[in-house]
């Protein structure tokens, strides 16, 4: 097969950071090429160089595409050549319709007047191609992330895509949505579209990739051809982190104490539609030293449950009681919930977790400023020391704790959010998709931290869409479906099949 793309000697620096160092990367026509590596290895940066987000002249090295040296001045240039990137963060306009989003910047118009018939008809066609059954007129914020991801792909297809770049497309998707997406990419391959896919989910990589390139610390470690040699997950991990990882989940001595955290008869309705009950009569408890999971499909109401408990940050008409250490506590505001010993690590770090323009240090201390202040005046030396400690403990890759969080890679941003809540010193830590977008090595570190918390007698409540993670980490798993708990399994009883069957038979 012919080489479609060759990136030679790519070097890209930011102030204080060499993100890419003489990277070589080549992709053959018609294949699915996976790009993997630790958080901050430079994957997203490499793809931004390729697609013209960082224009020609801001990096060193050559991009040879289709036999010619390219000098893209911006995304428009690369799109004209059929290179389409779907970024780590979705870029749809929430208040516009699916069809409007698909043709945004590429409107079906004559002399500036849009033909809505053509727009919607063409959109319908594209939606059929990507297997999305929604009306083209549907507003984008009405459909889930999984479907939004499909809209992004439909948008790419509308531009005659030849090389499709997907940066962590399945990070926020449920198991079944991920499967559907991967199937679609395989189907596009059959139609001759070449894809580059970035992912931390190595099982997916193994499933679809024809070749796998591993980046480490901004340099290419290896490119492996999955068609000529069998590439195991362990092989990939060894390339990524430089050592073998026997276990994905660190061992923990399980020792559950008294009941620490208890929620009783919790009910929540939708903030805008009072008739829609989002959480229905949920009761749960977490013992000291216990790690408890909540499994469920996307939209089961897990995040809504957690956020409504944590300072009524979601929903209306909330009823029920929360107890910590046997005493009923008031969690009606976030400050009170924190005071009662709760912490909630959000699944949506950009929107709800971080102040992106502020430094790592200021984000880490934000939820517990009084601890680094005397009489309301900040002790800045202490603040820096705290941030440095977490940087080391969590292995956050940043030139300094004064770096703006928006300049960190996705996975490292996640570690900043976690640090913030660890610094708040909670008794009960509620984790919502804590390892989303995090590499295998860092996941292991986070699991270790969870285990340490449990060893200290804290309680951990973990929401995750990755079932292996729940099965590997939890002592007990609640299964949630359509707002209600439909089952509870101990670690010994739990399996992927049991959980799914509880959901399906509900």
């Amino acid at each position: 097969m012919a080489t479609l793309l060759e990136m030679r000697g790519i070097t890209k620096t930011f102030p204080g950071v060499r993100a890419l160092d003489d990277v070589t990367f080549s992709v053959r026509e018609g294949e699915i090429h996976a790009l993997v590596g630790e958080n901050g290895a430079g994957k997203s940066t490499l793809m931004k160089v390729l697609s013209g987000v960082y224009p020609h002249g801001t990096y060193e090295g050559d991009i040879v595409y289709d036999g010619e040296v390219m000098a893209f001045g911006g995304i428009a240039d690369s799109e004209r050549r059929g290179i389409i990137i779907i970024h780590q963060e979705l870029a749809l306009v929430p208040l516009l319709s699916i069809a409007e989003n698909i043709f945004l910047g590429n409107e079906r118009a004559t002399a500036g007047v849009i033909s809505w018939q053509e727009t919607n008809a063409r959109a319908q066609e594209l939606l059929r191609k990507v297997g999305l059954r929604e009306a083209p007129q549907t507003q984008v914020d009405r459909i889930g992330v999984g479907k939004q991801q499909l809209v992004e792909i439909a948008k790419a297809l509308s531009k005659d895509v030849r090389l499709l770049i997907l940066d962590e497309p399945t990070a926020a998707l449920s198991e079944s949505d991920s499967q559907a997406l991967l199937d679609l990419i395989l189907e596009l391959k059959a139609q001759g579209v070449t894809s580059i896919i970035i992912s931390h989910k190595l099982n997916e990589v193994r499933r679809v990739a024809d070749s796998i390139t591993v980046l480490r610390d901004g340099a290419t470690v290896a490119t492996r051809d999955a068609r000529t040699e069998p590439v195991t997950e362990d092989r990939i991990v060894r390339d990524m982190v430089g050592r073998s990882m026997e276990n994905r989940y660190p061992a923990r001595t399980r020792r559950a104490g008294d009941v620490l955290f208890e929620v009783r008869n919790w009910n929540v309705t939708h903030p805008d539609h009072a008739e829609r009950q989002v959480v229905r009569d949920v009761s749960l408890h977490v013992r000291r030293g216990e790690v408890v999971g909540i499994a469920g499909l996307m939209g089961a109401g897990r995040t809504e449950l957690a956020m409504s408990v944590f300072g009524r940050s979601y929903g209306r008409n909330i009823t029920g009681t929360v107890a910590v250490g046997g005493r009923t506590v008031d969690t009606s505001s976030v400050a009170r919930a924190i005071g009662a010993g709760l912490a909630y690590v959000t699944e949506d770090r950009k929107e709800l977790g971080l102040v992106l323009e502020e430094s790592v240090q200021k984000n880490v201390t934000l939820a517990n400023l009084p601890k680094v202040a005397t009489g309301g005046v900040l002790r800045q030396e202490d603040e820096t020391r705290v941030a440095e400690d977490y940087r080391r403990a969590m292995n956050i890759r940043t030139p300094s704790v004064f770096q703006q969080v928006m300049n960190l890679s996705g996975g490292n941003q996640q570690k900043v959010v976690l640090s913030k809540w660890l610094f708040a010193g909670p008794e009960v830590l509620i984790l919502d998709e804590p390892t989303r977008g995090i590499d295998v090595g860092a996941k292991f570190e986070i699991y270790n931290i969870i285990n340490d918390l449990s060893k200290d007698g804290k309680g951990v409540l973990m929401i995750s869409s990755e079932m292996p993670e729940l099965l590997g980490m939890c002592d007990r798993i609640y299964v949630m479906n359509e707002g209600a708990f439909v089952g509870e399994l101990t670690a010994a009883e739990a399996s992927q099949e049991r959980i799914m069957s509880l959901i399906v038979t509900d």
Binding site: P15, V334, A373, S400
Partner: protein, 400 residues
């Protein structure tokens, strides 16, 4: 990807001064812009700009803008805006005039009541913005109209004045020379020298701290040059003031307020939370910050400062007129944006806003001395605001 401190340091050394200057253009740009503008007007006004009388005048003329810019910066950092400050300022001035001249209330009581009125006005507007989530643009636009009308109504369309001397002293009074020399005013000189030493000391301390944490450092020559310019400029201005009537009372007020607010925004929990609120209100809320109360407080504070500005303004003109403060909010907002604040909140510094206000003030003053018509003045000021913001955006893009 290399991340160690020594690498960063090596990188900084090889990239050199030019690169450092490039990435910190904004910080230097503002200072140099002010100096360049002053030099320009000093030249074209044949030295009138920096005459002792005129320097004193400059401070008096801009005091109320600066006082309000302090509050406006905080409101804008918090992610809101206040369009009503000009009208509120005028209204409070009118209120003071009515209380003192028509009702015969004592000056002290009047000042307290007027500041209280400002706080109430701020609270009334902040309440709708913070707790009802009504956009601040709309609430304060309404406030602007309401208090414009209220001043007219209160004064019945007439000017009211004059004020007793004790009230005028708010603005046009001077600190007497405690050493009794008077020309030059030794108190003024002493205050100036102490202030300059404090600035230098704080600069050195910050530099040492940066060193300790291995942050990319300002090249020594830059540091020295920048501080020499600041110190030189301060001493020069103080010397000029001391040969006239000494330190205006209002300069002391301004100086103290600037220090207090700079401290508040940069070194306290409260300040940090306001930046977080403006940077990402949802994340701040989920971090346990009482975002509503915080937004409310920024408006209460703005009302207080607008009232103070109103008193200073009335005292300076020695009369309250129904049109006082018309359009002043625009100068205040412009000063804050020239000073580097971001429209979307979360970014901006007190010192920037003060320098921004001086840039506007020097231009107003210089162009008036030159006899440039108000028509051209407005156009030029508008273009300077636009240029400052374009410069900001350009710098950001170059770095991104």
């Amino acid at each position: 990807m290399t991340h160690t401190a020594s690498d960063a340091a090596r990188g900084a050394a090889t990239r050199g001064w030019a690169a450092y200057f490039g990435t910190h253009m904004r910080d230097y740009g503002l200072l140099f812009a002010l100096i360049a503008i002053m030099a320009f007007f000093q030249a074209v006004t044949d030295g009138t700009l920096l005459r002792p009388v005129n320097i004193t005048n400059l401070f008096l003329q801009n005091s109320y803008i600066i006082i309000m810019a302090l509050g406006m910066l905080i409101v804008i950092v918090g992610g809101n805006i206040d369009l009503s400050v000009g009208s509120v300022m005028g209204f409070v001035g009118a209120l003071a005039a009515v209380m003192i001249v028509e009702w015969g209330l004592p000056v002290g009581v009047t000042i307290l009541l007027c500041l209280g009125a400002g706080i109430l006005i701020g609270a009334a507007q902040g309440y709708w913005v913070a707790y009802w989530k009504i956009p601040s643009f709309i609430v304060t636009l309404a406030g602007m109209l309401v208090f414009r009308g209220a001043s007219l109504w209160l004064l019945e369309g007439q000017s009211v004045g004059p004020f007793p001397r004790s009230f005028q002293a708010l603005s046009t009074g001077f600190v007497p020379d405690l050493f009794g020399v008077d020309r030059p005013n030794v108190t003024a000189l002493a205050v100036g020298v102490v202030a300059v030493m404090a600035i230098l000391w704080m600069g050195l301390r910050k530099r040492a701290r940066n060193r300790a944490y291995g942050i990319e450092d300002e090249p020594a020559a830059f540091f020295a040059l920048r501080n020499a310019i600041i110190a030189g400029a301060c001493l020069f201005l103080i010397w000029k003031l001391s040969t006239f009537r000494g330190l205006p009372n209002v300069l002391i007020t301004m100086g103290v307020l600037t220090i207090v607010y700079a401290f508040l925004t940069e070194k306290t929990v409260l300040g940090r939370r306001i930046y977080a609120l403006g940077g990402n209100a949802k994340a701040a809320k989920l971090s346990g910050i009482a975002t509503e109360r915080l937004a409310f407080l920024t408006f209460v504070n703005m009302g207080f400062l607008a009232a103070l500005a109103g008193l200073v303004f009335a005292a300076r003109l020695n009369t309250a007129t129904p049109k006082a403060g018309f359009g002043m909010e625009l100068d205040v907002i412009a000063a804050v944006f020239i000073g580097g604040a971001s429209m979307s909140g979360g970014v901006g510094k007190i010192v920037g806003a003060v320098v921004g206000a001086f840039i506007m003030g020097v231009m107003n003053n210089g162009m008036s001395i030159m006899g440039i018509g108000i028509d051209y003045q407005q156009m030029i000021k508008g273009l300077v605001l636009l240029a400052a913001v374009i410069f900001d955006v350009y710098n950001k893009q170059k770095q991104g």
